[in-house]
């Protein structure tokens, strides 16, 4: 079991526009109201990269910038873990559609944006961070796999930004990967208890059944996007309520997260 102190939390999903604004909904004292996300221009990106950033990169930045803003941490000093099932399916669609017709012409920008670690690359440029960053994928278990990696980094005495994000695909890919909404979540984790705004989580890998959302209106969101598999944990954070949640993992395992405010 690895102890991590939470220095910041971020969320970006329809009806959950940033952790401060979403807090009352997450703790069940304000109703959940669906509201489509507005367009978002990442604040930290230089203009060239901002212009080239794809929908999934913007989704990642939206959650990450929310977490960093609330934390008062220097983002350049943080190691980072980016967890995404599908990276950018709009880019995948454009490339595969272009290759299915003559002449086969791929845009160079699409190609460099097609790498799964595009968000991580843009992030390191945005915050001038030379620290280690990694990018993981595990389908609907992507948040849990990212959290395990982030906790392992905390165990190695690194302060870590964890960002989980996925963006809805265009058709015809949407029919094969039917995410109901784009979303992102982010956490800033540290081994150091000093100044932890959100308390502590203890992370382990357990054979257990997944925990559903405590707020019934949020349960459809939990299964609407791999990043939102984290919602049961965000409910505890928002409510400053001790508890244990099991988040969708791989094989027989869940990431078990015990929260102490």
């Amino acid at each position: 079991m690895i102890a991590c102190y939470i220095r910041g939390a971020g969320i970006a999903a329809p009806g959950l526009p940033g952790f401060p604004a979403a807090r009352d909904t997450l703790r069940g004292v304000a109703p959940y109201v669906f509201a489509a996300e507005t367009a978002y221009a990442p604040e930290l990106l230089p203009p060239n990269e901002r212009r080239r950033a794809t929908a999934s990169v913007r989704q990642a930045f939206r959650a990450a910038e929310d977490a960093v803003k609330g934390s008062g941490r220097d983002a350049s000093a943080l190691a980072s873990v980016f967890a995404s099932s599908d990276a950018d399916m709009a880019v995948l669609h454009r490339i595969c559609a272009a290759l299915a017709q003559e002449p086969r012409v791929i845009s160079p920008t699409d190609f460099h944006n097609s790498v799964h670690n595009a968000a991580s690359g843009y992030w390191s440029i945005a915050v001038h961070s030379m620290a280690l960053t990694t990018t993981l994928s595990a389908y609907d278990a992507s948040f849990a796999i990212g959290l395990i990696e982030a906790a392992a980094l905390v165990a190695a005495h690194r302060d870590v930004l964890l960002v989980a994000y996925d963006a809805v695909a265009p058709q015809p890919l949407l029919g094969k990967r039917p995410l109901a909404m784009s979303a992102g979540v982010a956490l800033i984790l540290s081994a150091d208890a000093g100044g932890a705004a959100f308390g502590r989580i203890d992370v382990s890998l357990e054979a257990a059944a997944e925990t559903a959302c405590a707020v019934a209106a949020l349960e459809p969101l939990r299964v609407a996007n791999p990043a939102l598999r984290a919602l049961p944990l965000f409910e505890l954070l928002a409510g400053r309520r001790a508890g244990i949640v099991n988040l969708r993992g791989t094989g027989e395992m869940c990431a078990q997260v015990s929260f102490t405010p």
């Binding site: 995948l92 960053t133 990694t134 791989t250």
Partner: protein, 393 residues
């Protein structure tokens, strides 16, 4: 990091299937690259295709994972007794306690390309029924396939950081073992030929019309290959056994598809992998050495800054081509073979060394005791990873 035992490993590339084929090809200086075009690609370039993928069948229970990338994984897992070694480890640790960390850059995208082709031919709006996104295209598919194929039921993570993916798996596995999330790990990398990377790198003018010539004065770019490789990592190697001793990871924070020209941040990754080992103790460096003008120059700056012109080095991409997300594990396996064989390969296809490079690039193979080998992998997004192999203390 604490040294990790490498209890088993295997590699399959255009050079051949398994370790012996790679030793033979390295010694005979026989490339696996051919001038053959991949399927119906219109691009005139050299490629490194693996023989036998088309004839490889997945086990019946895993038929939904069928695609070029997972077939390549299946073929690679069948070599060098690797699956049997994992079976023995599973009996020791339990299926939940062995983590799976597999690098890939494009996963099953060839399958998606074929699905889009079928859609265009059928003049349909929808993708064909046979296309299963989760088990083929999804980046996580390769880790899930490997986990299921090896009878494991714990962590399964696909690391996808472009061409550094399957070097970074060593770092993820080391951290997970040290943190206690698993007791042993399968690390690996699998990337297969597809039109996306051929046409994509071509759009960036990085594909050579000739065979790739790393470090050559007239190098024109990379040759793309495909490969799969795996290693079984465990705690506490016995003293003297060849082990993974260190991993360094940094980010250039410079550009999405170009390396930072001065190599200053790549150098930090190499230094982090060495830890307290003095640079002059390194016997050989397996370069990333893609043979693009910019990569080889930036890497040379990094290597020269840390090692001067003293440590012999070469890229082995003249044999395998650039296997992208599999390059890290392929070159890890070749680094281990270099240590075992006491044989340092030359920079294959290099005719005239670029006079602007200053590292000690080998133009002829060299025999002798090899103690420590550093392997470099760099990728889009500015990601740098170096891995150190050598005898455990």
């Amino acid at each position: 990091m604490k040294p990790l035992a490498i209890s088993a490993y295997t590699v399959t590339s255009a050079v051949g299937a398994g370790r012996a084929a790679h030793v033979d090809a390295l010694r005979a200086e026989r490339t696996g690259l051919t001038e053959q075009r991949f399927e119906d690609s219109a691009l005139a370039c050299w490629t490194g295709a693996v023989a036998g993928i088309e004839a490889t069948a997945l086990p019946r229970g895993l038929a939904s994972f069928d695609c070029r990338n997972n077939r390549l994984a299946e073929l690679a897992l069948a070599q060098d007794g690797f699956s049997d070694a994992v079976g023995a480890a599973r009996a020791r640790y339990g299926a939940r306690r062995i983590g799976v960390f597999i690098g890939t850059s494009t996963s099953g995208v060839r399958h998606t390309e074929l699905a889009y082709r079928a859609r265009a031919e059928a003049a349909s709006d929808a993708l064909p029924d046979w296309f299963d996104y989760r088990t083929t295209q999804c980046t996580g598919s390769i880790a899930e396939f490997t986990r299921l194929r090896l009878g494991l039921s714990g962590l399964a993570s696909a690391v996808s950081a472009a061409c550094a993916s399957s070097a970074k798996v060593f770092a993820s596995a080391a951290r997970a073992i040290e943190a206690g999330f698993c007791d042993a790990a399968i690390v690996g990398g699998v990337d297969s030929l597809c039109l996306t990377t051929l046409y994509g790198f071509n759009a960036l003018q990085l594909v050579s019309p000739e065979i790739c010539r790393p470090a050559d004065a007239a190098r024109k770019g990379l040759s793309i290959g495909e490969a799969g490789g795996f290693a079984l990592l465990e705690r506490a190697p016995r003293s003297g056994a060849v082990a993974c001793l260190g991993v360094g990871e940094t980010s250039d924070a410079h550009h999405m598809s170009q390396p930072r020209p001065d190599g200053a941040v790549a150098k930090l990754a190499m230094a982090a992998a060495l830890g307290s080992l003095p640079p002059e103790r390194v016997s050989y460096i397996n370069l990333h050495g893609t043979a693009t003008p910019a990569n080889d120059a930036a890497e040379d700056a990094a290597v020269s800054a840390l090692f001067g012109a003293h440590v012999p080095c070469s890229s082995t991409k003249g044999w395998t081509g650039h296997t992208l997300g599999a390059a890290g594990i392929v070159e890890a396996a070749l680094s281990l073979l270099v240590i075992e064989q006491g044989f340092m390969p030359r920079s294959l296809n290099t005719r005239e060394l670029d006079p602007k490079l200053s590292a000690a690039v080998l133009l002829a193979a060299r025999a002798g005791k090899v103690e420590y080998v550093l392997s470099n992998s760099f990728g889009f997004g500015g990601t740098n990873c170096s891995v150190l192999f050598g005898a455990a203390p």
